[in-house]
């Protein structure tokens, strides 16, 4: 694997430079969508450094390229040009299997649409990342149960997604994101489909994940959601418009 390059510390990062290697380093990343002959630059020349343990909110109007950026960060999509180092490793050097492994072991995803498999119970949904990591079945059950207990759904193990409320489903998704104990949690508008009390529950969980030292990157367009983070990056037309600390360091 590639050696970690020495990188300039991001000016607005509040993390101690002694914290070591950044989790995320984007250098002049561009993403161009091609639809027929029409090209559309959804991410323009974004450079960004996120250090371990940061809680970052990404804000911006609809269509500004937030999700596109998040998908690149999550190795779900590849940048058209530029460099992306994840924990010091250049993602563009990796093949599909290595990327799958990175997603599996280092990244936990939470989506706006929950993305649970309807035919599986809550527990089986949460176990899924561990199954891909070939964790033995017993161990998987145990860790899946623990994760569900942590999100307050210890009594909903055998429920199917359609037997649960939106808030509960999103908590299952959070349990799935944390079950493999990833360093980085990425959430794309995780509260976009939730009412205010469910939003509060889920944000509480992200706060806990951050408190445990995980790096959390969360997309939102709600100001009160962004307030929970330590750092807010505003995106406009695919470029970083502003990047700064919030008052609230919770």
């Amino acid at each position: 694997m590639a050696d970690a390059p020495t990188l300039a510390r991001h000016p607005s990062s509040n993390t101690d430079p002694a914290a070591g290697q950044p989790v995320i380093e984007l250098e002049a990343v561009r993403k161009v969508y091609r639809t027929g002959t029409i090209e559309f630059e959804a991410v323009r020349n974004v450079s960004l450094v996120i250090h371990p343990g940061e809680y970052v909110a990404i804000m911006g109007p609809s269509g500004s390229g937030k999700s596109t950026l998040m998908n690149i960060l999550g190795c779900l999509d590849v940048a058209t040009s530029g460099r992306y180092l994840l924990a010091g490793e250049d993602v563009s050097d990796m093949d599909e299997d290595q990327l799958a492994d990175v997603r599996n072991r280092h990244i936990g995803f939470v989506f706006q649409q929950f993305n649970l498999l309807p035919s599986l119970s809550a527990l089986r949904n949460v176990e899924l990342p561990l199954a891909f990591a070939a964790v033995p079945r017993e161990e998987r059950r145990r860790r899946g149960r623990l994760a569900l207990e942590r999100v307050g759904l210890g009594d909903r193990l055998t429920h199917r997604p359609n037997e649960m409320s939106g808030g509960q489903q999103q908590r299952v998704a959070v349990a799935r994101a944390l079950v493999s104990d990833p360093a980085l949690v990425l959430a794309d508008e995780p509260t976009g489909n939730l009412d205010s009390s469910a939003t509060e529950d889920v944000l509480e969980l992200f706060g806990e994940l951050h408190a445990q030292g995980r790096t959390v990157v969360l997309i939102t367009h709600e100001a009160e959601v962004a307030e929970r983070a330590q750092r807010v990056i505003h995106i406009r037309d695919g470029a970083v418009a502003s990047d700064g600390l919030t008052g609230g360091t919770r």
Partner: protein, 410 residues
């Protein structure tokens, strides 16, 4: 992901889409059942033919009176036939006919009532000579067969076929007992071993007597040396052509005929029976096989279609699996194992259906159906190959999708 996880996943997916899975399996089921039944029908027909041929006795030529153009008219009771006992004797000469291994002249009388006290049974009385047993490929269950001495003296003796014997004597061994025909007693000297039946005759229901006994005591009439049929057995299978030649030459010489238009006898070979039946058979089998292959192909395309739809329907699921760490290999394996499970299920049910049909159908149609184990195994293998084969393309397509494209699809 381990194989057991992949299999468990596939099983879940199959169960949670019951209708779709059922339709997929149905396609294969029909194809496989068709193959099993078709092959069974073909083999059953073949079996039937070979049973008939075996019953006839191997390497057999059948000489009938009448020209081949008039189609072998049989001499009736007492009416003069163009074949005689002397013809049969001439054919038996090892010098003139070295390729002929045995000759059995036949004179038979149908619907004769045999009595044993108050028990009676109506059957066919067959008059022949001592060589009949080897020519027809039969064996004795008990007693002895008619001898040359019986023939010479027109002895009042008979050898009963097995079911005739049991009809008249029940479980008692009839050897040494007497049956009466039109008031004349005939001593039972032997009982034939069972040979089953062919399409035209019950081989186990007849009474064999010396030729002379039948012609003099049973049939009577004007020409007491007339023969209805002569069975000629070649010394070996390779000598059948030679035996045919010899039979033809000897009879033409004896009957002073040389051209086919004046020939007053006809020779049927077992070979000609065999080739007509088996050519009819193989056309039928080819036709049926074609239909079965078509059914399989249609079933397979159905499977592929449903797998393609399934991949489309489950694109988001595939994207999610990839996002959570599923590798292309895992995704591919999952779809492959789903497809082969459906194939296997359809195949097993198809075999069950085919075997069930093979058990039920013969009650409604006259054809026997033979289930062959190798073919059953082959069709199960074919079902899996179809499942996998037609599952490969959708699985590869599914595995190729980028996680985000898959996740974003609606």
């Amino acid at each position: 992901m381990t194989w057991s996880d992949i299999l468990a996943n596939s099983w879940d997916a199959i169960r949670s889409h019951k209708m779709r899975s059922a339709l997929t399996s149905l396609g294969i089921l029909i194809g496989i059942a068709a193959v099993v039944l078709t092959v069974g029908l073909g083999q059953g027909a073949q079996q039937k033919v070979s049973n008939q041929l075996n019953a006839l006795g191997g390497n057999l030529l059948i000489v009938s009176p009448g020209s081949s153009t008039t189609g072998g008219v049989r001499g009736g009771f007492g009416s003069a036939s163009t074949l005689t006992m002397a013809d049969a004797t001439a054919l038996s000469s090892p010098v003139a006919a070295p390729n002929i291994g045995g000759v059995a002249p036949i004179l038979q009388a149908t619907s004769k009532e045999l009595d044993n006290g108050s028990t009676n049974w109506t059957t066919t009385v067959v008059g022949t000579t001592s060589s009949w047993l080897s020519v027809r490929g039969r064996t004795l269950a008990s007693g002895r067969f008619i001898s040359d001495a019986d023939q010479a003296s027109a002895a009042a003796v008979t050898v009963l076929a097995s079911s005739t014997a049991s009809q008249l004597f029940g479980p008692v061994n009839p050897v040494g007992q007497y049956v009466t025909i039109s008031g004349t007693p005939y001593q039972v000297i032997g009982v034939l071993a069972s040979a089953g039946s062919d399409s035209t005759t019950n081989l186990d229901d007849q009474a064999i007597m010396p030729f002379s006994t039948v012609s003099q005591r049973i049939v009577g009439g004007t020409n007491r040396t007339s023969v209805q049929t002569i069975y000629v057995k070649a010394a070996s299978a390779s000598q059948l052509a030679g035996a045919y030649q010899e039979t033809q030459t000897i009879l033409q010489n004896r009957h002073a005929t040389s051209s086919s238009s004046t020939t007053d006898f006809s020779i049927t070979t077992q070979q000609s029976v065999l080739s007509t039946t088996s050519s009819v058979d193989s056309t039928l089998t080819t036709l049926l096989m074609g239909a079965a292959a078509l059914a399989l192909l249609v079933g397979g395309i159905g499977v592929m279609n449903i797998m393609l739809v399934s991949v489309k329907e489950r694109t988001r699921e595939i994207g999610l699996r990839k996002a959570l760490g599923g590798t292309p290999t895992t995704i591919r394996r999952q779809f492959l194992s789903e497809a082969s499970m459906l194939g296997l299920t359809g195949g097993l049910l198809g075999v069950a259906g085919g075997v069930g049909g093979a058990l039920i159908l013969p009650h409604f149609i006259s054809n026997p159906i033979t289930i062959s184990v190798p073919w059953v195994l082959i069709s199960i293998a074919v079902a899996i190959v179809i499942g996998v084969g037609f599952g490969v393309y959708p699985a590869v397509r599914a595995a190729r999708l980028s996680p985000i494209d898959a996740l974003r699809s609606e």
